[in-house]
Symmetry: D3
Subunit: 250 residues, 6 copies
Amino acid sequence: MQRNDNRTPDQLRPITLVPDIAPHATGSVLIGFGNTRVICAATIEPNVPNWMKQQGVKGGWLTAEYSMLPYSTLDRKSRDISKGRIDGRTVEIQRLIGRSLRAIIDLQKLGQNTLWIDCDVLQADGGTRTASITGAYLAARLAVQKLIDAKKLAENPLLDSVAAVSVGIHEGKELLDLNYLEDKDAEVDFNVVMTGKGQFVEVQGTGEEATFSNDQLQGLLVLAQKGLKDLAAQQTAFLTKQLLGTVKIG
Amino acid sequence: MQRNDNRTPDQLRPITLVPDIAPHATGSVLIGFGNTRVICAATIEPNVPNWMKQQGVKGGWLTAEYSMLPYSTLDRKSRDISKGRIDGRTVEIQRLIGRSLRAIIDLQKLGQNTLWIDCDVLQADGGTRTASITGAYLAARLAVQKLIDAKKLAENPLLDSVAAVSVGIHEGKELLDLNYLEDKDAEVDFNVVMTGKGQFVEVQGTGEEATFSNDQLQGLLVLAQKGLKDLAAQQTAFLTKQLLGTVKIG
Amino acid sequence: MQRNDNRTPDQLRPITLVPDIAPHATGSVLIGFGNTRVICAATIEPNVPNWMKQQGVKGGWLTAEYSMLPYSTLDRKSRDISKGRIDGRTVEIQRLIGRSLRAIIDLQKLGQNTLWIDCDVLQADGGTRTASITGAYLAARLAVQKLIDAKKLAENPLLDSVAAVSVGIHEGKELLDLNYLEDKDAEVDFNVVMTGKGQFVEVQGTGEEATFSNDQLQGLLVLAQKGLKDLAAQQTAFLTKQLLGTVKIG
Amino acid sequence: MQRNDNRTPDQLRPITLVPDIAPHATGSVLIGFGNTRVICAATIEPNVPNWMKQQGVKGGWLTAEYSMLPYSTLDRKSRDISKGRIDGRTVEIQRLIGRSLRAIIDLQKLGQNTLWIDCDVLQADGGTRTASITGAYLAARLAVQKLIDAKKLAENPLLDSVAAVSVGIHEGKELLDLNYLEDKDAEVDFNVVMTGKGQFVEVQGTGEEATFSNDQLQGLLVLAQKGLKDLAAQQTAFLTKQLLGTVKIG
Amino acid sequence: MQRNDNRTPDQLRPITLVPDIAPHATGSVLIGFGNTRVICAATIEPNVPNWMKQQGVKGGWLTAEYSMLPYSTLDRKSRDISKGRIDGRTVEIQRLIGRSLRAIIDLQKLGQNTLWIDCDVLQADGGTRTASITGAYLAARLAVQKLIDAKKLAENPLLDSVAAVSVGIHEGKELLDLNYLEDKDAEVDFNVVMTGKGQFVEVQGTGEEATFSNDQLQGLLVLAQKGLKDLAAQQTAFLTKQLLGTVKIG
Amino acid sequence: MQRNDNRTPDQLRPITLVPDIAPHATGSVLIGFGNTRVICAATIEPNVPNWMKQQGVKGGWLTAEYSMLPYSTLDRKSRDISKGRIDGRTVEIQRLIGRSLRAIIDLQKLGQNTLWIDCDVLQADGGTRTASITGAYLAARLAVQKLIDAKKLAENPLLDSVAAVSVGIHEGKELLDLNYLEDKDAEVDFNVVMTGKGQFVEVQGTGEEATFSNDQLQGLLVLAQKGLKDLAAQQTAFLTKQLLGTVKIG
């Protein structure tokens, strides 16, 4: 079987990575999952949220924001501020990105700082949330290195790497890394987040006005794990090159 | 091993059901999962959203709203309107409730109507979203029957029943239907939504600033399926009694 | 003359009272004025508003919020947060509830606490604001007793009881405690708030796109006082039973 | 007994009236109750609210807006838009102004028009809402005449005049038309709205963290009626002069 | 050539000035540029913005707000709060007023105070922003004198006077001080702000869906400077009279 | 004299241009003025604003939105939606961009379409508004060509090119194209917008808590015109290359 972009069912789209796309961020990367392209930036702020101060929680914080640039979609998408509110889908995605990154960071080692993760979609073709998480880790890792090099952090607070991929059932077939045309008609849609060491961080699967059996669930989990192993390897290769092989990944 | 409320790890909390708690709704129920109590109401409105009219989509719609009453928590929770916005957690939950119900309804059979599902938490002790989904189905089924009896619907648009339960890992043990004390310290937290016929609608699992292995994932899925079979049976028993055994469930 | 629910012009609807409807509140009651049913909850919060701190005002505060649950009316009512604002009627009602309770409480005796009064209408059939005030006093009294029993308050800050009732002119006749059908067509509509000792707290009377004479005003005031005496007696009876007769009412 | 501005207890402050203060309005007046000064403008708009169109209600509409200019108070008051919301007091007042004017207008005779009543307080010294109602009637009457003269209205839709005054109990004494210093410390505060023919439109009385007896209520109503008779006479005199005695008042 | 109001191209409209229009402001004036009339008020507040405190900036602050009263235009204009936001034009104007006044004030000499400038348009006939700036200076100067007289300021922080005027090209002709009919069809529209000593504070020129040459630009600048010299003289004359010639202007 | 980046006073920063940065936009470019980098996108939408429909205005519309990405500044800048409002500076800039483009477009030739101009700052180092206008023209020109090639437009509605540059006085010297360090301390700051044919579109000059003489104004205008001639030449060169020399520029 061929997919609409000639991939096999268990094949990722080509991953592209441009480091330092936003030089004023502490770390940044432009990640591409095929035609889906997301600016991922990590910025350190010497402050923590008020609730941490009030509750006396020690250490730092990590928070994520996700947004689609108005020209990222084929029909122009209004800015959130024009509508006066963030839509429900955006809220879900930015909460997911935040949880995924917090699962692999030791906030105690961040000091009294907030690490802001910003993911702005430049071009949307399915999988913007999984590309965001995968790129956000890289931006965070680059930011951490810059802070270590500048003696602003004593050690790397990132305990592992993290990446995400979508799997789904489209026209009855189990597919890895769905593009927009596949995604919009998928009967079942999963997003799976996993660390470089192979631990799950998040499993989210939804029947889109449909349901799925236990067998289908198991098949999709296997497919996702295959894709995530590949993504983790590509993350390591990128960071090894960027950081000159002199630092330990993750 | 005993839990803090003397349940075994695979034991649900007692389910309580009070029909017709809000007589002006088309159908309503007060559902209790132990001390968690939620007013679930289904209300028919002879109208559909503007986007359906603009896009020429046929049939009806179902939308859900979830809210915690200010006195449902041990520390008073501000109303959404006082804060001027719905928080991210609420958005996620009401989207989940909506998707869960839409997975089992044939919207074509609703006519040009919207079925509003409202879930207002009266007392929160963990599992408010799973109790909401489980009760929302019952409210919807009672509403449908009233509409059929009043000749406002020709046939039952509900194709199956639906229920939800939480499972999680707490102090290293896999538990069914976590209460608040268990939930707030759980390492892993899953919400699983399933139909009466045993099909999955949604699987959402998160490591709370932690991760989980494939073996743990599999154990939790088995536990959830056990609890969901039990919940489906209790839903059937309740509806059989309410609807006098004269109508087909689901 | 018979009214549409067979009452005489000067007859209250049956009052129903369910204590402890919201167990996480400090005190709560589900009050019914006929088919009008309101959840009234009183919750203590160990804090006072910022303006009191800034102005150095001593003692505590009492504030009220009122809301109609979306399924309380025959046509579903949108939540305030969906409309993005509280409507004018709601603002007026919650200010009235707050003033009515503050008229009978010695805020100095509350300590540095805020007593939140929440009134959520479960079913609306006219008189939701008068039922709210009448029930709010009961919730507050139950909350105060719980705080005294827990040694969190030294003495009862409530100096008197308070209740409210509507009177109006409908088809030229003066009626007590109007239900929805009577209220929506009334020519004149009064809400009167009075303490258990017979002092007025608030008198609000409006000609609804109409006017009224001094004689009509006097007739309505007499009718309201009759109803309020009855309500005060029912409040006392309820509290005597709930508090086991061991505490002084008011 | 002398009051702080040397009036007797039953004496109004001097009324000042400047016609046509805002020439682009259909009708306008600057009204003064002593140092309280309010710009009252009536503007016709050839349109009715959407709810009237949707419900098929015939005739016109009248709506009122009230605002305090930031420099009207001794300490500068933030604009509503700076705070992002209209405060509760403002909402109550503009609803009161609207109801008061609607009580004396035959909306059928307005045609498919909205009569906007705007009251902007230029200087606040107590009684801004009663001055607003009293001046709003005059602005409306001037606007009506201009529309009749321009053949845009066939006949006068105003069935009567309307005015308002405050009465209250301050240091135990019953006073008419309270200024700011009296109002802020008053134990009981009433606003009474009455037509030129002596019919009540609205009676609103509140114990300010206090209560009042039936005798006090009766005394205040007598005092208010005396002041309202005087205000109606002054309204008539002003309009007679402005409209050259050629038209019937009210 | 005659203009629609019989002025020559380089002639200002008549300036009218009513002092103390809002007695609760520290200083105020009602300024008229022909039929354009603006209430300008300056109010002192013993506080500075939070950003000044946080950044440790010394001295005071000056901030301006501009608003059009709903009845200032021939078609009623909705209040900002009704639309929920300040429109872009208003934002631009109030920022311009603020910058213009800050250019001539020594904020160090204001002490830890904010001088609020409020400009509310009572009647709009073109040039509301230039009338606002010209009147705002006068209100500020009156306010400063009151504060000096009350020993609340040691010396005059105003280093110069400031005024503003519009110039533009209408039907190919260069005109000074455009009224509404001229302004709405102008091809080029300039607002020029200048001090009494003849220094520019702001030059803003726009081709309204058109462009302009360097020659046209130069002609308009000459015309503006002529009008601004005249305005400065009228400001001085007014202040000399108001302040009894006993104080130094600017 | 050397500037902090070694430029002469009348020297532009290097201009960089990356076409098609956002492939889902109709036309797009990443423009750099030195380290200032802005994503400029032009997107066609087959619709016009409601006010045009209501007023029966023919032709199309052009509207611009400007935003700074949170990581574009050295200290992270909150998103507008997080603050709930667009700040005044952003409003001014997006209105300026819109006016500048509308000055050179024949809206009649756009058909019933809106051309959206989006400018998102990726890196801010002074001159973000002038880079935005300069790049927005290029994005619009690329979009127009794509629409002509796709037979969606019959002819080019752009009548001329447009570009913008800043000039200012810093430490007493007149400088062209200020970078951030120069801009933040400048005494006088001008933005000048000009067409390729040398006509002014907009001149905006402000003394930043300072003033400027007529001589300084004239010197700055000369400097701006020099820079704008250079920018226009670079725009032509870029478009000639992108559009293969087969189409007429402007």
